[in-house]
């Protein structure tokens, strides 16, 4: 799966969970500061991403996923 495909998949999740417009989703965007995803919604995003991409994202690693790009890289490394 390419980075663009993962970004597109995350954008779908972010729209569903947090109402983020897919147009706003880009690798440099911060989940909390730019996309307004709060901590509880981030949990939902992570669980949905695990399911969608068939990966595991332990809670300890979630705190390191500050930007969409961080998440894309993390998922790409596992898939």
């Amino acid at each position: 799966m390419t980075r663009d495909e993962i970004t597109a998949g995350l954008a779908e999740i972010l729209e569903e969970v947090a109402g983020v417009s897919p147009d706003d989703v880009a690798e440099e965007k911060s989940f909390t500061d730019d996309l307004d995803v709060d901590s509880l919604s981030m949990v939902e995003v992570v669980v949905a991403a695990e399911e969608k991409f068939g990966v595991k994202i332990p809670d300890n690693d979630v705190q390191n996923l500050k930007t969409v790009g961080d998440a894309v890289a993390y998922i790409a490394a596992q898939s």
Binding site: V17, A18, G19, L40, S41, V43, E44, V47
Partner: protein, 408 residues
């Protein structure tokens, strides 16, 4: 310092009769029933297959993403609260946050969330349980959300006294203003438990009407053929305000919340006291608290839920405490029983009866119980001057709440 007067300056509701106060009031005065068949698949197995469901779904007022993190009872509490807040003219010029309090309760709370998330837990495991589960099901959730959105910082309170909740929440609001802890209180109740488990539970108590083939005639307070209450869902909210605070900003005043009283039966967990002692005491205390002449209380919006025992116990208590002169109504004949929201919605009906000089009807009272010896606005709305009126709310647990509203 003398005790401040408290007035009602805003109303909000979403009910089985309408998505706001105006449409609900119009439907009430027209004597329309909000009860209908439950067509969901799960209803087929239940002994009770009727309910008074919301006329307007929350999805028409709140966006999808916001609704993901709100229990239905929280969503409708917010809808009612925002309507009341705007109606009071406070949405554009809010008071000092530290002078705003919230008193919003629910009879049962976030049961739909609890049950839905339990289904997810069973089917998909703990990781799939929503992180919003706890704030959605906690009983203070509706009050907390309303407080958050209105910016209330003088305290957010969540009363729970079963079917007395809405009335008790308003009584608490009165106390908050009288005690000087707030200038403005958003008070009310909310309930959304049209789900097979609560219905099965109430049905197992034999508390609900099983008139499944005739939903609109199922809720029939004081009628000989009544066979239990009809479950309803909805929310009601009132803005209570210190009278001088309302006057200073030139607010429109609907009525005065002149007095309130709360008592407990200390008798049985679900049965009302057979002589209505706790109710009589609450009515007497509320009237004394209001300092209003008993003769001026010409109307009572009764608790009357359409159960065989409760309806008549209330009549005996009303006759004993007030005499024969008040004109009664039971708006649950149209709305069904909104449990924790009932007292809030019925307070709104009482307030509008005072404002408009019209008492909404009690529908389905075709063959009055022999023990009903008080005047009821049966079938049709009754036009008359209403200088002051009572709203009664009683709940499982022996809670009795009585509110006295009067012309401002």
């Amino acid at each position: 310092m003398s005790r401040p007067d408290v007035v009602v300056t805003g109303l909000g509701a979403t009910t089985p009769l309408g998505g706001d106060v105006a449409s609900t009031w119009d439907a009430m005065l027209a004597g329309r029933s909000g009860v209908g068949p439950l067509t969901q698949e799960w209803a087929g197995q239940l002994p009770v297959r009727i309910a008074a469901q919301l006329a307007v779904e929350p999805t028409e007022k709140l966006d999808r993403v916001k609704l993901r993190r709100l229990d239905r009872s929280e969503a409708i509490a917010l809808i009612a609260a925002h309507e009341a807040w705007a109606d009071a003219g406070l949405a554009d010029s809010p008071p000092e946050p530290e002078r705003i309090a919230v008193s919003v309760g629910s009879g049962i709370g976030g049961a739909q969330t609890l049950l839905a998330q339990d289904d997810i837990l069973e089917a998909s495991g703990p990781r799939r349980v929503s992180p919003h589960t706890v704030p959605m099901l906690m009983p203070n959730g509706p009050a907390a959300w309303v407080g958050l959105e209105l910016g209330a910082q003088a305290g957010v309170h969540s009363v729970a006294s079963a079917c007395a909740t809405g009335a008790e929440a308003i009584a608490l609001g009165l106390d908050l203003i009288r005690s000087g802890r707030a200038d403005v209180v958003l008070a009310g109740g909310t309930e959304a438990v049209i789900h097979p488990l609560p219905i099965a539970g109430f049905a197992s108590m034999r508390a609900m009407s099983t008139r499944n083939d005739d939903p609109e005639r199922a809720s029939r307070p004081w009628d000989k053929d009544r066979d239990g209450f009809v479950l309803g869902e909805g929310a009601g909210a009132v803005v209570l305000e210190r009278a001088d605070h309302a006057a200073a900003r030139g607010a429109r005043v609907y009525a005065r919340l002149a007095g309130a009283a709360l008592t407990s039966d200390g008798y049985d967990i679900v049965q009302p006291h057979p002589e209505g002692r706790g109710v009589i005491r609450a009515i007497n205390m509320a009237i004394a608290d209001a300092g209003i002449d008993r003769a001026d209380i010409v109307h009572v919006n009764a608790h009357a839920t359409s159960t065989p025992v409760g309806d008549i116990a209330e009549i005996a208590a009303l006759r004993s405490a007030l005499g024969n002169h008040p004109v009664l109504t039971a708006t649950k004949s149209m709305t069904g029983h909104l449990l924790g929201a009932a007292g809030a919605l019925e307070s709104i009906a009482t307030i509008l009866a005072i404002r408009d000089g019209v008492i909404p009807p009690t529908i389905n009272l075709d063959d009055p119980d022999d023990a009903l010896d008080l005047d009821v606005a049966a079938h049709k709305a009754r036009h008359m001057e209403v200088p002051a009126a009572l709203n009664n709310g009683f709940g499982f647990g022996g809670h009795n709440a009585v509110l006295v509203f009067a012309r401002a």
